[in-house]
């Protein structure tokens, strides 16, 4: 009786501890949001969102060109990083059971942990020295940073799919490539979306490689071969500046950046929620079958 009680209490305490962990992790998130909103909100008005960045003490300074620049950088970067990353992940997971596949996976892991400033230097020596400081060199650096993140999460997502599912699919006469795509699109999708989001969220806030590549610009610029502005650069440069108006703009830009990144997450989550449920249902039926057969 006593031991039963003790076990019950232990169970309860462990549950509370686990819940406590969740709450502890949420404290920084909430605190960051409060800090950024309370410092950044006063800076934000219509002009701030639509005007270009101007120098200290100039009225009507904004971050419109930086918002546009960030969108272009991340967009072009995704065009490079997502397909290369996803296909690398597919290869490593589905065909990578050989020395080349293991090498590819291995160096992807290494690249994922690499300081982005060095990748910025790589993009500098490869592209900037030819094209000059430009949108495309920044996008190239961001794309490279995305590749291993996307590849690893793709691989992880495919790894979560039980082998029996693949075998069953092949047994039913579905070609392997179609099985793979099918599996990615249904069962592995939540993992893929997570990977793409993680990658986009990560590069949207990258500062160091952009200093060496996209360079920043106070003017409106969208050309692929021209230097462009970016939100993290505005935050970084203005936060370090002596002038109160620029510092306020840094917090305003931080609020915009974090809002963009977070709302992107929310939107994608809302769009994919229905599919998540379907995917989970599929997974569950397979789990049931597995446990029946096993």
């Amino acid at each position: 009786m006593k031991s039963h009680n003790a076990r019950k209490w232990r169970n309860r305490i462990a549950s509370l501890l686990a819940l406590g962990c969740v709450l502890v992790a949420l404290v920084p998130l909430v605190s960051i949001l409060i800090e950024v909103v309370s410092r950044g909100a006063p800076a934000i008005d219509w002009a701030f969102l639509t005007e270009r960045t101007k120098s200290a003490g100039t009225p009507d300074s904004g971050i419109g060109n930086a918002i546009l620049g960030s969108i272009l950088l991340v967009g072009w970067g995704s065009l490079i990083g997502l397909p290369l990353g996803i296909l690398t992940g597919v290869y490593v997971s589905e065909y990578g059971d050989n020395s080349f596949g293991r090498t590819a996976r291995f160096f992807n892991d290494v690249l994922a942990n690499f300081p982005s400033i060095v990748i910025g230097l790589f993009a500098y020596s490869l592209i900037v020295t030819v094209v000059g400081f430009s949108l495309i060199s920044g996008a190239f650096a961001l794309g490279i940073i995305m590749i291993p993140i996307v590849a690893n999460t793709t691989e992880e997502a495919l790894r979560m799919v039980p082998n029996s599912l693949r075998e069953a699919s092949l047994a039913l006469g579905v070609p392997r490539w179609k099985t793979v795509l099918k599996v990615i699109i249904s069962n592995g999708r939540s993992g893929l979306v997570t990977g793409a989001l993680l990658a986009i969220a990560r590069v949207a806030g990258e500062t160091a490689p952009l200093i060496l590549t996209s360079f920043g610009n106070s003017f409106w610029e969208t050309g692929l071969t021209e230097p462009v502005a970016a939100l993290p650069l505005v935050i970084f440069r203005n936060a370090m500046s002596p002038y109160a108006d620029l510092q306020e703009q840094a917090w305003g830009a931080a609020l915009i950046l974090i809002t963009m990144v977070l709302s992107l997450n929310v939107i994608v989550r809302l769009i994919t929620r229905k599919r998540f449920k379907v995917a989970k249902a599929v997974k569950k039926t397979w789990k049931e079958r597995l446990s029946l057969s096993g």
């Binding site: 101007k54 490079i80 099918k182 699109i185 060496l212 920043g216 106070s218 071969t225 230097p227 620029l246």
Partner: protein, 389 residues
Amino acid sequence: MNEVEKDTSQEGKRSIVMPHKGGNRMMYVVVAIAVVAIIIVAAFATGILSTGSKESVTLTGAGATFPMPLILKWADEYYNTTDGGVKVNYGGGGSGAGITQIEEMQVDFAGTDAPLSAADSSTYGLVHIPETLGAVVVAFNLPDVSGLKLDGDTTAKIFMKNITTWNDPAIAELNPGVSLPDESIATVVRSDSSGTTFVFTGYLAIVSSEFDELYGQGKTVAWPDGTLAQSGNSGVAQAVQGTSYSVGYIELAYALENDISFAQMENHDGEFVTASLETTAAAAAAAVPILPAGDGDWSGVHVLDAPGVDSYPIVTFTYILIYKELYNEDTKMNKTAAEALLDFLWWAVHDDGQAFASPLQYAPLPDAVVELNEETLRSITYEGEPLID
């Protein structure tokens, strides 16, 4: 996209058997995307897609972050003055980066706080154009003390950790009547390599031979153990403000804009001088006689411990570097851009541009330096032809 959704919803019921039609197209899309992505990356990597057309003239500069607010201000005003005809884009990044990038001809001009070595300026044919002045102050945080006086030797000893408490006789002697606490001094320095450190350590090396021997002048130096290092002026200022009984060095502009208290420094003539735009300009005026021509050797130039009763002792020029001959087979600069660059610099170093210095806490250039810059700009050529009469 619809097809994908349909497939998925069907899968719930029909498990793994799926319609084959949509699948083939999907495959070719995948292959096409892969090929296109590789081609894009390869094309940019090899520089094939490197054509760009420019309607207005864009001048790109990089380098020192210290003059960046002023250069950006000039960029704004010059853009308005030329009705949008000339865009000056200055990206900061640090003096070292700026020098590397102008030597690699990635930028049209570079900003630097420390002059080039004689070898570098002659090898690359770069000229120095001092465009504004800055000063470095010793910020302090003493809860019950409002004013503090320091001399060079004492300051050096504090940062070398030879003087470790506030009530040390050396400090007390300089501050009669001030009750200094019996607390240890926390010293805060810049962690990132910076022109500010270069100027400050240059001053300490001039006034203290011991500092010169042990640490020397540098953009970063090996400070003694126990020194707190922070990135940027803002980092040092915050650390000083957040730590009682601390001292640190920051730019004058930063201290003035953020109401940070800083020490009066004893100058070369033995006067205690408060750093301000006036005392900064006074120091620069005193340094004018030693300045070389724009294309000469600037490596020894400094405005530290300058003579004159009103001269603040920790002052520096900050320079713009451009090529003496703007035409080069490797640069993409055409004659229009070269003319625009010179016009912009001419405008910036004269009253038109210098008028914007004071509101941003930069000291305007003394007249003699403006005249020197005029000569330098007149000597700049494009394919051998001077561009300014």
